[in-house]
C-alpha cells in the first residue's frame, strides 16, 4: 500500500498515452472511395420473407481505399466497415510488401474497459457538494475493479466507488491505446519508403438479403387465343446494418453458394460498470427484501389517431363510378439489372451506381418479359376417401424457353399474379417460384377456384378391387384443362389416364358449364 501511494504522486507522468505498441506507426483509413457490394440470399430461407430487422443473408463488400504509408512498420486501421463483418474473410491487396498480419480487436472503450485499463493506476475522483455546488478532486489509485465494484485508495485510506450516496465521478487522463469505440480491423504492413497505396479491402458481412419479387400481369386476350402474361421482376435488396453504402456498385447473386457455420468470434469486452456495494439495508427494511422490484409494465400505446380520412373514401367512390379502369401494365423500367454467368451462379449487376441505405430496402427492376405464354391448368389429387366436392387449385404453367417468351434464368422469389377486370387489376393470388434454369418447367400455384370442383366416390368394392368414380364439375363459361393425379395402384387402363413421372394422371378438358367423369379401379392388396 505504501508503494501505491507513492505511485499516486507520480501518476500524471506515467499515465497511459494513446501510442500503439513498439515502433509501429498508425494510419487510419476512415472511409472507402469506392464500394462494390454483392448480396447473397439467406441460405435456407425458402419461401419466408426477408427479415427486415436483421436479414439472414450476407454480402461481399469490396472497397478501395487510398492510404499514405510512411517508411517502416505501419498499422493501417480500417474504419467505416460494416458491423456484420466476418473478420476471417477479410482480404487486403495492393500493398507493396503484402500483409504481415490482420487483426480484429474487440476491446471496446467503455466504463468497464477504462477501469480495467486503469487498474493499479492513478485516476481522479471528483465529488460535488449538492448543497453548495463546490467540487473537490482527489487523486486516487484503483485497487480493485471492475468486477463487482471499484475500490480505490486515496491518502485517507480505501474506499468503494459510489457506495457513499455522494455524487462521484472518475476522471481518466487519456484513452488507453488498445481500446476502440467498436470492433476494429487493422493490418500490419511494412514499406521501405513512404508511398501512397491504393488498397482493396474485401470481406463478407452478415445482415443483408435479397430476393426476386415477380409481378405477373395476365393479359386480356380475345377468346380462343393462347393466354399471355407480362412478367416483371423486382430485385429487392435489404440492408439491416447501420452502415450505408453510398454511390455503390451493386450486384446480387442467384443460386445457392455453400455456407458453413462460421467459427467463434472473439467476444467484445467492455460494458457498463456494475457496482455492487456492501449490504445497504436499513432498519425499516427488515425483514429482508432482496431489493428487487419487478419492472413497471410498459405504458399502454398511445391511441392510434384515426387516420382514415373521409376524403380518401370519397376518392375511391369517384373512381368506381368511372367505370372500366385502365388495364394494369407492368411498370416501365428505365434501369434493369444485367445478368451474367458466374461459374454455376447467376450474377445480376445494377448498371448504375446506387446508394444502399442503412436499415433500408431497395428495389430495382431485374426481369422484364412481356407476352409470356402459359397454360392455365386446374390440378387435383384424387382423395382416398369418398366425400363432398372440393374446389380445385389452379396453376400457371409455362416452360422457360424462347418459344414461351422466356428463356432466361429465373431466380427464386415470390410471384404476385394480377388479372385485369372491370374493376381494374386485381390480385388473383400469390405463389412461389424456385430457381429455374433455361428450359425448366415453371409452375406457379395461384389459388383455388370455387367454380371448378372435384368429387370422388367409391362405387363398390370386392375383395381385390375398389371401383371409384371421379367427377369434375365446371361452372365457368369456357372449357378448362384439368390434371388429376391418382397416386395409387391402378388396375388395368382407364381411358384418358396416362402415367406421368410414375404417377397415373387423368388429363381432361371439361367443357363450359359441364362435367367430366372418370371411372377407375384400384387394386387392393
Amino acid at each position: 500500500m505504501t508503494f501505491s501511494r507513492f505511485f499516486a504522486f507520480l501518476a500524471p507522468l506515467l499515465a497511459p498515452q494513446a501510442v500503439p505498441l513498439a515502433a509501429q506507426q498508425l494510419v487510419v483509413s476512415d472511409q472507402p472511395e469506392n464500394v462494390s457490394i454483392t448480396i447473397y440470399r439467406a441460405p435456407d430461407r425458402g419461401e419466408r420473407a426477408i427479415d427486415p430487422d436483421w436479414p439472414q443473408g450476407y454480402a461481399l463488400i469490396t472497397e478501395t481505399r487510398t492510404v499514405q504509408l510512411p517508411a517502416g512498420d505501419t498499422m493501417v486501421r480500417f474504419e467505416g466497415v460494416s458491423e456484420g463483418m466476418f473478420p476471417e474473410s477479410a482480404i487486403v491487396t495492393g500493398l507493396p510488401n503484402g500483409v504481415r498480419e490482420k487483426n480484429r480487436d474487440a476491446r471496446l472503450l467503455s466504463p468497464q474497459g477504462l477501469v480495467d485499463a486503469y487498474l493499479k493506476r492513478a485516476v481522479s475522483i471528483t465529488r460535488t457538494d449538492r448543497a453548495t455546488g463546490a467540487s473537490r478532486t482527489q487523486n486516487v489509485f484503483i485497487t480493485a475493479g471492475p468486477d463487482g465494484g471499484v475500490i480505490f485508495e486515496s491518502d485517507e485510506g480505501f474506499e468503494a466507488l459510489r457506495c457513499t450516496g455522494l455524487p462521484e465521478r472518475m476522471t481518466f487522463p487519456a484513452v488507453p491505446a488498445d481500446l476502440s469505440p467498436r470492433p476494429t480491423l487493422s493490418i500490419l504492413t511494412t514499406s521501405s519508403r513512404p508511398i501512397t497505396a491504393k488498397l482493396t479491402l474485401s470481406y463478407l458481412a452478415s445482415g443483408f438479403d435479397w430476393q426476386a419479387n415477380y409481378v405477373a400481369t395476365v393479359k386480356r386476350q380475345p377468346p380462343g387465343e393462347k393466354p399471355k402474361m407480362d412478367l416483371f421482376a423486382w430485385l429487392t435488396v435489404a440492408n439491416g446494418g447501420k452502415q450505408s453504402f453510398e454511390n455503390a456498385n451493386m450486384m446480387v447473386i442467384a443460386g445457392e453458394p455453400n455456407r458453413e457455420r462460421h467459427g467463434e468470434q472473439p467476444r467484445p469486452t467492455g460494458g457498463a460498470l456494475q457496482i455492487r456495494c456492501w449490504p445497504m439495508q436499513r432498519t425499516d427494511e427488515v425483514p429482508y427484501n432482496p431489493g428487487y422490484l419487478p419492472p413497471s409494465p410498459p405504458p399502454p400505446p398511445a391511441p392510434m389517431a384515426m387516420m382514415v380520412g373521409e376524403g380518401e373514401e370519397i376518392m375511391v367512390t369517384a373512381m368506381r363510378r368511372s367505370g372500366d379502369r385502365m388495364d394494369m401494365a407492368s411498370p416501365v423500367a428505365a434501369v434493369v439489372a444485367e445478368q451474367e454467368g458466374l461459374g454455376d451462379l447467376k450474377l445480376y449487376r445494377v448498371p448504375e451506381r446506387v446508394t444502399v441505405n442503412a436499415k433500408g430496402q431497395k428495389q430495382v427492376a431485374m426481369i422484364v418479359q412481356p407476352d409470356v405464354s402459359y397454360d392455365r391448368i386446374y390440378v387435383a389429387r384424387a382423395s382416398e376417401h369418398s366425400g363432398d366436392s372440393t374446389p380445385l387449385s389452379y396453376i400457371l404453367r409455362s416452360r422457360n424457353d424462347e418459344k414461351s417468351g422466356l428463356g432466361i434464368p429465373l431466380p427464386a422469389g415470390n410471384v404476385a399474379v394480377f388479372e385485369n377486370s372491370p374493376f381494374g387489376p386485381l390480385l388473383a393470388g400469390e405463389g412461389d417460384l424456385p430457381d429455374r434454369a433455361i428450359n425448366n418447367e415453371i409452375e406457379i400455384v395461384v389459388g383455388q377456384s370455387p367454380d371448378v370442383r372435384l368429387a370422388v366416390a367409391e362405387l363398390r368394392r370386392t375383395k381385390s378391387r375398389a371401383y371409384w368414380r371421379a367427377t369434375i364439375s365446371n361452372a365457368r363459361n369456357h372449357p378448362i384443362a384439368v390434371e388429376m393425379e391418382i397416386a395409387r395402384d391402378i388396375a388395368g387402363r382407364a381411358r384418358g389416364v396416362e402415367i406421368v413421372d410414375g404417377v397415373p394422371t387423368w388429363r381432361v378438358t371439361v367443357p363450359a358449364n359441364d362435367e367430366a367423369r372418370l371411372d377407375y379401379v384400384i387394386r387392393l392388396r
Partner: protein, 461 residues
C-alpha cells in the same frame, strides 16, 4: 497519515522494481511463447527473471491467462525449489471488503446535506448481514440508516483478496536474479485455417492463400510473444476434446506424402515468422500458404436417396484439386474453411461458396462442394414399383439430367441406399458400384442438352 505517506515514499523508492505494471502496455510477462492447438487450448511458456531473496519467499505471477488451468502450472529455474503453488480467485469487491472489516474500525465521513460540512467519526463494524451494523462510541447504528451520504474509509484491504485471480508460488532459492520458466495450459486460445481460393474456370487453375486465424478469448494479452500453432487437437484427458471428428467429405483419397514443415509427433507445426502481440478479444490472421496456378477442375455431383424423387434439384458444383507436391498445392492443409472466389465479367472477384475442410495430408485428392448449380439440374422419378414376392420389390427409376450451360458438363450421378443386396437388373448406361450401397454413373451432358438414365433395381425395399 501524512507522515506515513512520507515514510512510504522512502520505502517505495527502494522497492520500485516490484511495481511491474506501472506504464500502460507493459506487462509482468517476460519472454513469452504461446503454442496454440486447434481445440481451444494453448500452452504458455513465460520466462521471467525474478529477483529472489535467499531462502523461502512467496512470488506472485500477475499477467497470466485469466483462464489459466492452475493445476497445469510448472515453474522451474536454476537453484529454486517449489514449496507450494496457490491460485487465488477470491476477488476484492466492496461487499468482500466490508465483510472482512467485521471487528475492525473504519472512518466515517458524514456530509451535512444543507451546508456540505463534513464530520469525521470512527466506527467499529459489528456485522454485515443485509445491512451494516456499527458501533459508534457507545451506541449501535446501521450504516446509512437515514439515507444521508456517508463515506466509509477503510484503513487496509484484506491481504488475500485480489483485483484479479492471481497465481503465487512459494519457493526456496539461493537468492539473486534468477531466470524462471513458468508454463501452463489455458483454454480460450484457439486457431483454425482460412483459405482464399480464386478459381479461374477458363484456365482450370486455382490460386490458394492460406491464413491461420487465431482467436484470443483468454482474458489476457500476450505481448511480443513467440507464437507456434500446432495442427492437431490433443486429447485433454478429460474426455471432452477426445471425440473423433466427423469427416467433412472433402478428401477423395488421402495422401501419403510427407511435408517439409516441422512436426511434433503426428502434428504439423506452424511457427509465426515474427514475434507478435496476441491481444485479448483479438482475432489475428497470418499467412502461411500462397500457391498460384495449381490445376483444378469443376465437376457436378448429385446423390439420390432411395426412392427419392424431385422435379428439378440442382446438382452440386464441386471443385477438385490435389494437395500433392507435383501438380497440386504441395502442402498439407490444416483444418478450416476454404472460401472460393471467381472473377466476374469485369474482373472483380466474387464469392461463389465455401466448404469446411478437415486436416488433409499432402498428396490427397480433394473435392470441395462450393454450392448448388443453377443450370445443372436432376429430375428423379420413381417410374414403377412392383412387388415380386413377400420380400422383393422391383423398382424402376428414371434420372433426367439437364444442362442449361453453353458447354458440355460431366455429372457424377449416384443412387444410394442400395443396402448391399440390391441388384441392378437393367440400366441404360453402365454404372459403377462404388460401394455396397451406392452406384454411380458418370454422365457427359451436352451443352444446352439433357441426358436420361433409367435403371431397374431388384431389392428388399
Amino acid at each position: 497519515m501524512r507522515l506515513l505517506g512520507f515514510a512510504g515514499l522512502l520505502l517505495a523508492s527502494v522497492a520500485t522494481p516490484a511495481i511491474s505494471q506501472s506504464a500502460p502496455g507493459e506487462s509482468a510477462q517476460g519472454d513469452v511463447s504461446v503454442t496454440i492447438y486447434n481445440n481451444n487450448q494453448a500452452l504458455v511458456q513465460d520466462v521471467r527473471t525474478l529477483s529472489l531473496p535467499k531462502g523461502r519467499s512467496k512470488q506472485q505471477f500477475p499477467d497470466v491467462s485469466a483462464q489459466i488451468r492452475a493445476e497445469t502450472v510448472t515453474l522451474s529455474g536454476p537453484g529454486i525449489g517449489i514449496v507450494e503453488q496457490n491460485f487465488d480467485f477470491d476477488l476484492l469487491t466492496p461487499a468482500k471488503l466490508m465483510e472482512k472489516a467485521v471487528g475492525q474500525t473504519v472512518t466515517l465521513i458524514r456530509t451535512n446535506p444543507a451546508t456540505g460540512a463534513e464530520s469525521r467519526v470512527r466506527a467499529e463494524i459489528l456485522a454485515a448481514n443485509g445491512g451494516v451494523v456499527m458501533k459508534i462510541g457507545n451506541s449501535i447504528e446501521v450504516l446509512r440508516d437515514d439515507g444521508l451520504p456517508v463515506r466509509v474509509i477503510f484503513d487496509r484491504v484484506p491481504p488475500n483478496l485480489r483485483a484479479r485471480p492471481t497465481l503465487s508460488v512459494t519457493l526456496e532459492s539461493a537468492g539473486g536474479q534468477v531466470p524462471t520458466a513458468l508454463s501452463y495450459l489455458t483454454p480460450g486460445l484457439g486457431w483454425k485455417a482460412d483459405y482464399v481460393t480464386l478459381f479461374d474456370e477458363a484456365k482450370q487453375t486455382i490460386d490458394v492463400q492460406g491464413w491461420v486465424t487465431l482467436t484470443n478469448n483468454s482474458g489476457t494479452d500476450y505481448r511480443n510473444a513467440d507464437v507456434l500453432l500446432v495442427a492437431g487437437s490433443p486429447n485433454n484427458g478429460r474426455g471432452r476434446g477426445g471425440y473423433p471428428q466427423w469427416p467433412t467429405g472433402t478428401i477423395d483419397s488421402a495422401g501419403t506424402e510427407t511435408g517439409d514443415r516441422e512436426r511434433l509427433g503426428d502434428y504439423y507445426l506452424y511457427p509465426l515468422a515474427e514475434r507478435t502481440t496476441v491481444a485479448n478479444a483479438q482475432q489475428k490472421q497470418v499467412s502461411f500458404l500462397d500457391v498460384t496456378a495449381a490445376p483444378a477442375r469443376k465437376v457436378y455431383e448429385y446423390t439420390n436417396g432411395w426412392l427419392g424423387s424431385s422435379d428439378a434439384a440442382s446438382a452440386s458444383s464441386v471443385l477438385k484439386f490435389s494437395t500433392s507436391r507435383s501438380g497440386g498445392l504441395g502442402d498439407q492443409l490444416p483444418a478450416g474453411i476454404m472460401r472460393v472466389y471467381m472473377r466476374d465479367k469485369r474482373g472483380d472477384p466474387q464469392f461463389i461458396g465455401e466448404s469446411q475442410i478437415e486436416a488433409t495430408p499432402m498428396g490427397s485428392a480433394m473435392s470441395i462442394r462450393t454450392g448448388e448449380a443453377f443450370d445443372v439440374k436432376v429430375k428423379t422419378v420413381v417410374e414403377e414399383r412392383t412387388r415380386r414376392s413377400s420380400s422383393r420389390w422391383r423398382t424402376k427409376m428414371r434420372y433426367e439430367v439437364t444442362n442449361a450451360r453453353p458447354e458440355a458438363v460431366t455429372v457424377d450421378l449416384a443412387q444410394s441406399g442400395l443396402w448391399g443386396d440390391v441388384r441392378i437388373e437393367q440400366e441404360s448406361q453402365a454404372s459403377e458400384r462404388v460401394s455396397a450401397d451406392k452406384v454411380e454413373w458418370s454422365l457427359n451432358v451436352p451443352a444446352n442438352g439433357s441426358v436420361t438414365v433409367t435403371a431397374t433395381f431388384d431389392g428388399r425395399y
